[in-house]
């Protein structure tokens, strides 16, 4: 018994070592930094211990802006992208000809380089000295005025940000949902057909419940992913996100560490832990809601 225990730990050792050094230790360290005032990594000195870092971060207007941006992005992109992905997947699974082509088209953004996509969005939306961008040309065509989506008003920037995020995250969701739809046993649809079930009812009463585990999975991972948004913002607005007013919480953490005004690991740690607690809370709520939403589902086949 003892011997085999020892063996088991031995086999686990490499994983534990790596996870310990690169995951657990930094986590604990971040936690400690967040309570140490004015920590200096070079001299390894602190002024004191307490809630000061949290207080500073929570009173920092840049942080509050980042929280606001992050929440807007999360609340808009997660439901919209999941809903749109569902619509497109249902469409995809009901068309026969050229199905593979459509599937490829919808999956392309997933394999395309973020920066390349950012460039395309620039061409579509950016206003330069030479051109107002393709979308603005379209707007002008319909008699509207040009809007600077990249350097313009907040709503325009937020619109393009959400648009971009949805466009980037959707392919994966479509992929998951089309395979979920395909895995629903056809005999259920035949059974529904025998009873003359209207299409909408088939969708809401049979298809949706059958693929709901996948939808919940996408919503939960979608929330987590959207809260951690950063690179997409950089791709669109460049690295100085605070100036653009489009920073996110992760962006704020990064700026505090390495940005032009960086070098404050304590503030960064506090912000990171605030983000962590937000994501944890939301995920727990999500799980609770989905558990309650389908009692006894685990027992069903």
């Amino acid at each position: 018994m003892k011997q085999s225990d020892l063996k088991a730990w031995l086999y686990l050792l490499p994983a534990i070592l790596f996870l310990g050094i690169f995951m657990v230790y930094p986590l604990i360290d971040v936690f400690i930094y967040s309570f140490e005032e004015g920590y200096n990594s070079a001299s390894q000195t602190v002024y004191g211990v307490g809630w000061y870092n949290y207080s500073y971060v929570l009173h920092d207007p840049y942080f509050l802006q980042a929280v606001k941006n992050t929440f807007i992005i999360v609340l808009i992109t997660v439901p919209l992208s999941t809903g749109l992905a569902l619509l497109i997947s249902v469409g995809l699974s009901s068309v026969k000809p050229l199905k593979d082509l459509y599937q490829t088209v919808f999956f392309l953004p997933y394999v395309t380089n973020t920066l390349a996509v950012g460039l395309v969005f620039m061409i579509l939306f950016k206003k330069t000295a030479y051109t107002d961008g393709m979308v603005n040309l379209l707007i002008n065509q319909f008699g509207g005025e040009s809007v600077d989506f990249i350097d313009g008003p907040y709503w325009a920037k937020m619109f393009i940000m959400c648009f971009y995020t949805i466009w980037v995250v959707m392919p994966f969701k479509i992929l998951i949902l089309t395979s979920a739809l395909a895995s629903v046993d056809k005999t259920y649809y035949n059974a529904a057909k025998i009873d003359g079930t209207p299409r909408w009812r088939v969708f809401t009463r049979i298809t949706l419940p059958m693929i709901s585990p996948m939808i919940f999975y996408l919503v939960i991972t979608g929330f987590i992913g959207a809260f951690k948004a950063y690179s997409d913002e950089v791709a669109l607005f460049g690295t100085n996100l605070n100036a653009a007013g489009m920073n996110t919480i992760v962006g704020y953490v990064y700026d505090m560490l390495y940005g032009d005004s960086g070098g404050y690991p304590s503030y960064a740690s506090a912000a990171a832990l605030i983000l962590f607690s937000i994501v944890l809370t939301i995920t727990c709520v999500n799980l609770l809601v989905t558990r309650r939403g389908r009692p006894g589902y685990a027992g069903a086949r």
């Binding site: 046993d185 035949n190 025998i194 009463r205 027992g299 086949r301």
Partner: protein
């Protein structure tokens, strides 16, 4: 409700797109199932019986031919307008709904005049549940029920709208042997109680024989024989039907008719009247053998299996189409298991002749 199929044909495009020829799943089937009877479509897998069922319920459209329920031509009607109930092989119960919700589902789809109030729906569902005896399981989900219970829920769901025709697609194949027997009787009872014309698809001949009023033996999309189970067993029209029915299966020998004498291998087994010379397949049911030291059929004894009521004699014969032949004799007929040779006399009515080429039945009279 009488069900009539007229020249029903269903052709599918070949699944291999390079082959342009179509696959004929159901080939010119004409058939009439009398009102209130239980008919079984029987045949090996791929014989088109399930396709025939799908045509009757409307999940598939026939390439040619018409389908009538009573005097109504339902060929062009959608499934829900035909008044059919279908029980699927894997039951197809919605896993996220309770038994009651599953049974209510078809009722909730009713529109217009047929629309029912909540109370009426529950009443009908309870009626159906009572018929299949699952009242105490109504709040369970399919995953929490045994196969047999799921089966009953599926039948209740098919019956709740009181269909004109009930269709069952291999409904017993997912149950274990004991449950299958039990459910078989249960199905028979439900069918008798409701008096709904029922079409039952199976590949299990024993199941078919035991449950049906009328049996339809199919092969490669075509109907070979229609009739009461015992009639078909006693008077098969061809070698295929003869081989398909009966456990253990019929024993087939190569035989010849020469000068009014039927010989199996080197054994002259029977004298016939008015039968011209021809090569034949000789089919002898296992119960058609009588051990007889002076009998004409000389076989090598392989073994004896005692099964209580009956004894199965396993033997070899040079002209036998299979490796061994099986004869069932009553247990009190002693047969020495040590004997190297065993001889049988044959029962005339358990012996059939089939044409060597066409495999059609050849009538004969023994002298």
């Amino acid at each position: 409700m009488k069900v009539r199929l007229e020249h029903l044909t269903k052709r599918f495009p070949n699944s291999n797109r390079k082959i342009k020829t179509e696959v004929t799943a159901v080939d010119d089937v004409t058939l009439e199932i009398p009102d209130g009877q239980l008919a079984v479509l029987l045949g090996p897998s791929g014989c088109g019986k399930s396709t025939a069922l799908n045509l009757i319920c409307g999940l598939e459209k026939p390439t040619e031919g018409r389908i009538y329920f009573g005097d109504d031509d339902v060929t062009d009607l959608a499934p829900e307008n035909r008044g059919v109930g279908l029980v699927f092989q894997n039951y197809a119960l919605y896993p996220h709904m309770t038994a009651l919700q599953n049974i209510l589902f078809p009722l909730q789809n009713l529109k217009g005049e047929a629309k029912l109030s909540r109370e009426q729906m529950t009443e009908k569902a309870m009626e159906a549940a009572k018929l299949v005896q699952i009242e105490e399981l109504l709040d369970r989900k399919p995953g929490q029920m045994s196969g047999g219970q799921q089966q009953r829920v599926a039948i209740a769901r098919a019956l709740v709208k009181m269909p004109r025709v009930l269709l069952l697609d291999e409904p017993l194949s997912n149950l274990d042997a004991r449950l299958r027997l039990q459910t078989r009787e249960e199905l028979r009872r439900i069918q008798r109680e409701t008096g709904i014309t029922t079409v039952f698809v199976t590949h299990d001949q024993e199941e078919a024989m035991s449950i049906s009023d009328m049996m339809v033996v199919m092969r490669k999309g075509a109907v070979h024989q229609t009739g009461k189970p015992q009639e078909i067993y006693d008077e098969p029209v061809d070698l295929f039907v003869a081989k398909f029915l009966g456990t253990p299966p019929i024993n087939v020998f190569e035989g010849k008719v020469r000068g009014g004498v039927l010989t199996v291998g080197a054994d002259a087994v029977m004298e016939l009247e008015d039968t011209p010379d021809r090569d034949v397949w000789v089919g002898i049911r296992p119960e058609g053998f009588i051990p007889d030291v002076g009998g004409p059929l000389r076989c090598g004894l392989v073994g004896v299996e005692v099964m209580g009521r009956d004894t199965t004699v396993v033997a070899t014969h040079p002209a036998c189409a299979a490796d061994n032949l099986r004869a069932i004799i009553s247990a009190d007929t002693g047969i020495g298991s040590s004997a190297g040779e065993v001889r049988f006399a044959l029962k005339r009515e358990k012996l059939f002749l089939f044409d060597k080429e066409t495999e059609e039945r050849v009538p004969f009279r023994a002298r």
